[in-house]
Point group: C2
Chain length 216, copies 2
């Protein structure tokens, strides 16, 4: 999967800014908070969310190596860590300087953006067109590939609580629990705490309508 090359990672590490620990307990940035900062995730996992009445919908995830650029206007989404994370906070100006100095980064940045919209479309298909078990299966597949490709055959420790999964896939945590149970009783996965072993990766993909090409 499109990880950064070590060279590109090195360049990005040259970005001036401060390192901040982000706790999953509370929102890191509230919606509508004006902020002129570039956020790069170094470790962990951030969620972009929107609240809608009492409900919360997670609209995007940012894994280690990914980033969040500031919108021109105050963003409508908030940011909250899924797990304890470490981010680099820089300014849009410093980021632009880096982007202009290293033209290869522009290409990387462009493809990243494209990938994120592609994932966004996939999530829309998920919440809009698939039933509950497919949605959960799909997220499991996506998570396996986005965390660590090599572990896909083995087992993945989910960063999510079942409530997170509900907020991503648009259903109640209770139902997520039942769907996980059903996937297990179908023999597609085995669970040990929050770790998921994939017993039938092919069938799990089929159930979830998961076709990895959208991740590129």
């Amino acid at each position: 999967m499109p990880r950064l090359s070590s060279r590109q990672a090195e360049i990005l590490n040259g970005l001036p800014g401060r390192i901040v620990q982000v706790s999953p307990r509370r929102a890191f940035r509230e919606p509508l908070e004006l902020r002129d900062e570039v956020i790069l995730v170094r470790k962990g996992l951030l969620s972009l969310y929107r609240t809608c009445g009492a409900k919360r919908q997670i609209v995007a995830l940012r894994y280690a190596g990914e980033g969040i650029l500031p919108p021109a206007l105050p963003p409508l989404f908030g940011i909250q860590a899924i797990v304890l994370s470490e981010v680099l906070i820089s300014t849009i100006d410093d980021f632009d300087v880096l982007l202009n100095r290293h033209s290869e980064l522009q290409e990387v940045y462009r493809r990243r953006t494209e990938r994120h919209t592609s994932i966004g479309y996939e999530w829309l298909v998920n919440t809009g067109s698939r039933d509950a078990i497919a949605r959960v299966a799909h997220l499991l597949c996506e998570t396996a590939l986005r965390t660590d490709a090599e572990s896909a055959g083995e087992g993945v420790t989910l960063p999510f609580t079942q409530q997170h999964i509900g907020q991503i896939t648009g259903q109640s945590s209770v139902n997520v629990n039942r769907m996980m149970g059903e996937l297990e009783s179908l023999g597609l996965i085995r669970r040990e705490g929050r770790t998921v072993h994939f017993l039938d990766w092919v069938e799990l993909q089929r159930i979830g309508g998961f076709q990895p090409n959208y991740l590129r």
Copy 2:
């Protein structure tokens, strides 16, 4: 709403390419079709869709003045017109030339992209967190503003069939029909064929959880 200034529109009209009529009857571009073209909508309305088994999910709309850039890899979405449309088809190279020549366009382009992701997030909230009537109400509000702001107080002729609305909001066309009927019997809208008159714009927004700021 962010229409192009007449000057910017003029620049874009200078983009070399061919004009094509797009019929809503059949797909204009199938998913996975490799194509190295920039599409600018001159008249009408296009949908980007993904199919998922028998179902179709519309993941984005492109109104007149908006465009579709080619992804680096073959796109997973297809393109189909909602109504009879007219598009300008150009190449990514010609588009880049234009973008480099007129730096103001870059800013426009950037804001467009930002707006589209913002709308994508809102659609995720819609399909993931709102109930059926809210989803329909929300789409009505959005459509009123995206088609013609001035007509919002008056009435809007929807470009959509009820099936389209179902494919956008993730529900069956039968249920869309019932929700439209309910909105009407609640006295929020009045329908004449496909034209919708807004009798209580404020309450309609409230029902739909619609806050126009995401459209910028």
